[in-house]
């Protein structure tokens, strides 16, 4: 981990990020309510609550869509990495906005004295066999439950407790939550409101989220095809000079994990591309203050042995490197984490 990185404390960047996030969300909700109020002035209290239900509901949906765009955007353009750093705060705020949507819905039923009829919306089991008429509130509730689990486990404590692969798999259920929310809107509001804005919002979100994922996925797939291994199993990385100083080239064996080959002047070291923190793509980071620095959250490791500088204890698997006929080659069989394996190339090879 980076000495300068503070996992729990509030840095200025985090405060600015959260400030912009909260202000934008509040502005959207207020603007939605103001426009809706002006176009269709509420005739009674339930109508007024309904405006807020829609304002919070559409805000939660658009926020969830935006969250899903951050990952592929950061992969396609490094400038979006800033959005990735505090994505968990974005997720927690989205859950709170969705929760407010549900609380307002309960209030809508309560002020009309029909709260007791609400369970029937979930428990009329015959409706689950229909498509049009499917209990859409159940879909929303399922999505909210997923978002609650994600928000509740968003802290680094849960990341360390569950270990990065399990935590990452758990947080990938955000895609299921997104699908449930799309169907919640399509089978709910879209069925009795015939404004074109609702289908347009859904189509726009699905198109943007889908296109970005396809673009990022295509790029990742090209990397994952891997380089062919030589007779002795070693993989060619390229001439040492082709690796940018303080940067890395990522290679993959056809059936193995990705390997990040870093260069610091004439010293070269190969490490797993998986950061010990969140399995972030460490090969997309840079060498800062003499240490390889993960682009996601600033965790740092020494080039020579893949160990985090003291007092931190994270260690990454390293790989053997060699210079063969002017080409740098890597052995794709990982060494135990923390094994020194860097090499120095002669000046004439650079």
């Amino acid at each position: 981990m980076s000495v300068g990185y503070r996992a729990v404390q509030w840095s200025r960047d985090k405060l600015v990020y959260d400030g912009i996030l909260v202000a934008t969300t509040a502005l959207y909700i207020l603007a939605f309510a103001a426009i809706a109020w002006r176009m269709h002035p509420p005739k009674n209290l339930p109508d007024a609550i309904d405006v807020w239900i829609r304002a919070f509901g559409t805000a939660a949906f658009l926020m969830l869509s935006a969250i899903l765009c951050i990952g592929p955007l950061a992969r396609l353009d490094r400038r979006f990495l800033r959005l990735l750093h505090n994505r968990r705060h974005f997720g927690v705020l989205t859950f709170l906005v969705a929760l407010a949507h549900v609380v307002l819905m309960l209030e809508w039923f309560r002020v009309q004295g029909v709260l007791h009829t609400l369970p029937a919306d979930f428990l009329t089991f015959g409706d689950y066999l229909k498509f049009i008429g499917f209990p859409f509130k159940t879909l929303g509730l399922a999505a909210l439950s997923i978002m609650f689990i994600m928000a509740a486990t968003s802290h680094d404590f849960w990341l360390a407790f569950l270990r990065p692969p399990v935590w990452k798999a758990l947080h990938m259920t955000v895609y299921a939550a997104y699908g449930l929310v799309v169907l919640h809107v399509a089978l709910g509001l879209m069925q009795y409101e015939h404004t074109p804005l609702i289908p347009l919002m859904l189509i726009g979100s699905l198109t943007v989220v889908g296109t970005l994922h396809l673009m990022a996925g295509w790029r990742e797939w090209a990397v994952d095809r891997g380089a062919p291994a030589g007779i002795d199993g070693w993989i060619a990385v390229g001439p040492p000079a082709s690796i940018p100083d303080k940067g890395a080239r990522i290679v993959a064996s056809p059936d193995g994990e990705r390997i990040a080959v870093f260069r610091d002047g004439n010293e070269f070291g190969a490490l797993t591309n998986l950061c010990a923190h969140q399995n972030g793509p460490i090969g997309e980071g840079r060498i800062i203050d003499g240490c390889i620095t993960c682009p996601w959250h600033g965790y740092q490791y020494r080039l020579a042995d893949g160990c985090a500088p003291p007092p931190f204890t994270e260690r990454l698997a390293t790989y053997r490197l060699r210079l063969n006929g002017g080409l740098l080659e890597v052995d794709p069989r990982p060494l135990p984490p923390g094994t020194p394996a860097s090499i120095r190339c002669p000046q004439e090879a650079l």
Partner: protein, 44 residues
């Protein structure tokens, strides 16, 4: 993201995208025609 995660992602993601797109298209195509304004039930 590990290789296994990426592989799972590539299997699950297109299937989920197809399901969502199909569900949305069917919901749009099968929705009932608009009712007269007086009879509109605005239930969240």
């Amino acid at each position: 993201m590990t290789r296994h995660h990426r592989r799972a992602h590539r299997l699950i993601w297109p299937a989920l995208a197809m399901l969502i797109a199909l569900g949305f298209t069917m919901a749009l195509a099968l929705r009932p025609p608009p009712e007269p304004p007086a009879a509109t039930d605005r239930r969240p």
